[in-house]
Subunit: 282 residues, 2 copies
């Protein structure tokens, strides 16, 4: 769509951006999927990066925005094994010390359940300068794309983002679900597909209603996005039918009931990016 390109080129021609210095690492949020949800800082970083260490879940449309960079996937491998966090930290430090412009590209926002804080601490300890480029977290972008407002006057004065599993895959044992049930009007659950039955039980025990609406948003903001709305009592049954490796956001709260009013009038098509024909990968 030529008009779009021309419009963005006009913007680019008038922006002055801070330098992405050689020998530094930028931790960049890739957003939930739609490349149009990358920030201008993120697009700039990808465009000038020498190397991009990316999570496996980052979409090809987003990676296409880094045409000159070498790509290294550090996420889940074919066999289901993840690159250990310490090896990722060491790799970032090594590449920076080699004088490269290094992008660490993470789904969503780097500091919302992404272990980005550990990476910044490792870089700081090694004396490597870095920059954090925030991203649209799934809890922000996925809710909006589903037509579910994260907050709404009169319905939601607070929204809590909570992770549904710890590093072992179990329900985190230091989350007080009862207190969250009473304190947070809206609960946005990350990586909670396998644990939603236990979570729902705890929320119900703490007084949330069995009929409270719950939304499952899979592959949010992509052309494959799907939304299912159910109740807290039925949530576990819905979850059982969603494949475990499909990125899923779960939203619990009265705002879910607004979805039919909003979604019918909402446009939400993603951007796409022309693929890179040839590039180095690792």
């Amino acid at each position: 769509m030529a008009g779009v390109t021309a419009a963005l080129e006009t913007v680019a021609s008038r922006l002055v951006a801070p330098e992405f210095a050689a020998g530094t690492v930028w931790l960049v949020g890739a957003g939930p999927g739609d490349p149009g949800l990358l920030t201008l800082h993120a697009a700039h970083a990808l465009a000038v990066a020498d190397v991009v260490l990316h999570d496996a879940l980052v979409s090809p449309d987003v990676l296409a925005l880094a045409p000159r960079a070498r790509l290294e996937s550090v996420g889940k491998r074919a066999g289901g094994e993840r690159t250990p966090q310490l090896r990722i930290n060491e790799r970032l430090i090594r590449l920076a010390r080699d004088g490269l412009r290094v992008v660490r590209l993470k789904g969503g926002d780097p500091l919302v359940f992404g272990r980005g804080a550990e990476e910044t601490l490792a870089l700081a300890a090694a004396g490597v300068r870095f920059r954090i480029i925030p991203g649209i977290s799934a809890g922000i972008g996925g809710t909006a794309a589903a037509g579910i407002p994260a907050t709404h006057r009169g319905l939601a004065h607070s929204v809590a983002f909570v992770t549904g599993h710890d590093t072992s895959g179990a329900l985190p044992d230091d989350v007080d679900w009862g207190a969250l049930a009473r304190g947070a009007d809206v609960l946005v659950l990350y990586m909670a597909l396998r644990r939603i039955g236990e979570i729902a039980d705890r929320l119900l025990s703490a007084g949330r209603e069995a009929t409270e609406p719950v939304a499952f948003v899979t592959e949010a903001t992509t052309s494959r996005q799907s939304v299912q709305v159910t109740t807290l009592a039925q949530a576990a049954a819905i979850a059982a039918d969603i494949p475990r490796d499909v990125p899923t956001l779960i939203i619990v709260g009265p705002v879910v009931a607004l979805r039919p009013l909003i979604a019918a009038w909402q446009d939400a098509a993603p951007m796409s990016c022309v693929p890179v024909s040839q590039r180095a990968t690792a």
Copy 2:
């Protein structure tokens, strides 16, 4: 900086974006201040918009990204009065019915404490199609820019975003601060400067420690950003010295203690945009 411009132009030339149709309204998140935190969708929308209804707090650097649009400020006026929400809704509907491409530009994210949900419901009721373009909420972008991770493995499995006042300016009476104190590892408080003393009292009563670290981030992500770190016991005293009209984010939680380790190695300069020399305003 010519390299930056060229890099972003390269990106723009390969992106395919959905059409911003005449007669529709895009609710666009402007992010916390740095124009580099606008999304590509937002930059595209601003570049092609006919008219932009913007909050008064949106920075001139962001508005400069909409060179051809007529600007209408609907935020706080010189006398301190705000445009009533119903008049904003009516204006959006009228402009869309006039066949214009209308951007409603809101600070941060449109659906996080921005009354954007009310605007979508008004548009839907009037049969006006719209799109929600998520933005970097201050709770995401302002924390990162201050070197404070919103979550951190072992320290924070949950983060709650909470508004510190209702429409009358009082502490919302249906927020259960005690439950939030027990349930949320990190509390990110929006618009809470005038009420932080009351909030701190409630958090302390519910068992949070008097020595728990608290950060005040003013004008987050701009070149004027400042960060003060204190304790829950001292928070009200710090707040008293911050002018009431300065946008302030307040972060309560153990992650605040990581700031000295992170901030010393962090770069965070914002982008800027060459101003528009002449334009129509209203």
